[in-house]
Amino acid sequence: MSKPYDASMARRNRIRKDIFARRIMKGLTVLAGLLVPLMLLALYLRARPILEAQPLTELLTSRVWRPLKGDYGFFPFMMGTFWVTSVGMVIAVPPSILTAIYLAEYARPRIRALISPLIDLLAGIPSVVYGVWGMLTVVPFIEKVAAPLLKRWLGVVPLFNSENPTGYSVLAGGIVLAVMVFPIIIAVAEEVLSAVPQGLREASSALGATRWQTVRHVVLQRAAPGVVAAVVLGFSRAFGETMAVLMVVGNVIQTPHSILDAAYPLTALIANNYGEMMSIPLYDAALLGAALILLLVVLIFNIGSRLVLIRLIRR
């Protein structure tokens, strides 16, 4: 027997469905929000044995890495990361910001519509492909062209001189990283620059300022915190990049003294040794400790720059 249609029942059902959906959605949302703390907790728990075995200061400052003897010094790896990332940023920042200014302030809409997808494409290229490019192009270029030239012209400066330049070097890692962070810095900086009110530009150009004067004194002035945030986001991306760097920096455990020296960044340490990390005591704790350090640094930079960007853009 069919029941008579009951409108209030139907409505109650619809509302019940709404409430049910809402609960599920909220649950998933909160779970996603908890992901960062969960990651921190998980890595901390796995890294705890090494933190108990060796004081943190010793872990961070010791240069000795002998897993079989239980010596886990992160210093060379942290320096490796620091060198490669710094060189990458020095190379990446000027062209990225100038390109962002070009796109936001100078390029006609049609040109912008042509260039922006290409920059997105650059962002989409997988890191192993960057690595292959680095090995095939950047490394030989450094070995055959850049290193001899640097040695001849700037060889007196230790920074540009190396005993045994193979091309697999801090500089190679830096160049590859620079290209990888171009699209990140450009995209964020362009967005920040575009968020500067048009009236401000007009106020300046109505006084007879040239376009560059307006950009330099007004637009960049106003967007400065956001441009810094864009650079920091690029930095933290470079900081955590693994495969592409690993393929071109040479992976020699040492503290680099020159941009032509090989280095061994933290990320490469984790990726290269995961295979045996369960077979040596404390090894897994040490590697996950390295991951924890990485995550902490990236989190600090990311949160900082995101807070700045929220203030600047979503107003």
Partner: protein
């Protein structure tokens, strides 16, 4: 010509030069991969799995890695979709301006910046906790986590573009929020949602550091969620690691295959974004 004109011209040239450097590096990368990869690419590479002696330069192909990558990224994208879409709808429909929502958005943005090796390490710890071994499922979970922020924020922004009038007219007809979300928002934002999904898929298929720990590698086609699975980025990486030039050639070819997949996804998402607009109110 005065000093300001010269300054203006100088910086304009500098900006053009920078743009050329950026675009030039894209062309250089694509060119290098194409030039070195194409000679080594043949049908056998795409249709065969590695045979005995493959890593010494003998017969075989990377079908295992192609299929593995499609399974990994496909599974991860599906999983991420199931989680992301409700989150994006929640952010846009139920709670738009609360503190909690801002915090969630911030944490998604921050997750976006977390390096993929950390997802690998985190996935690995989860697997140890659950007693799993390196497997297709493990890889899918790690990649889904990696894709989650990309997809959710992409969808969040796509849904945010839905005009407020449309939402209100749906409410005015007596729709519940859920009905409005399903009936109006998803349909209206469909191109944006698909673009976000494809973007996440592209990110997933190209990522190596997260599957390194979690999916393992095998010369066979993936046959079970609980067995290891090969992937293209790792195929590139491992083949490059051999000392044999013939195998290294194949690494370049594998990189080319991966790049072509990424290019195809990028083109497809552009086409879809333009093509699925039949029911969209402008």
């Amino acid at each position: 010509m005065n000093k300001y004109k010269i300054e203006e011209l100088f910086f304009e040239w500098l900006m053009l030069l920078s743009t050329v450097i950026v675009l030039g590096s894209l062309i250089l990368i694509l060119g290098t991969v194409l030039w070195r990869g194409l000679p080594a690419l043949d049908l056998a590479m795409l249709t065969q799995i590695p045979k005995g002696g493959y890593y010494l330069g003998e017969e075989g192909g990377i079908l295992n890695a192609i299929v593995g990558s499609l399974c990994l990224a496909g599974g991860a994208t599906l999983l991420a979709l199931i989680i992301s879409l409700p989150i994006a709808l929640y952010l846009q429909v139920y709670a738009t301006r609360s503190r909690l929502i801002e915090l969630i958005r911030l944490s998604l943005d921050v997750l976006w910046g977390v390096p993929s090796i950390i997802y690998g390490a985190f996935g690995f710890t989860l697997m140890i906790l659950l007693g799993m071994r390196a497997s297709l499922l493990g890889g899918i979970i790690a990649l889904a986590l990696l894709e989650l922020p990309i997809m959710t924020r992409g969808m969040d922004e796509a849904i945010a573009m839905v005009p407020a009038d449309l939402k209100e007219s749906s409410y005015a007809l007596g729709a519940t929020r859920f009905e409005m979300a399903i009936g109006v928002m998803i349909r209206q934002a469909l191109p944006g949602l698909l673009t976000a999904t494809l973007l996440a898929f592209g990110r997933g298929i190209g990522d190596a550091a997260s599957v390194l720990f979690t999916a393992g590698y095998t010369d066979r086609l993936p046959d079970s969620l609980f067995g290891p699975a090969a992937s293209l980025p790792l195929a590139v990486f491992f083949q490059l690691g051999t000392p044999f030039p013939a195998v290294q050639q194949r690494a370049y070819a594998s990189a080319l295959v991966l790049t072509l997949i990424i290019l195809a996804i990028s083109l497809l998402s552009r086409r879809l974004a333009g093509g699925l607009t039949k029911h969209i109110i402008r």
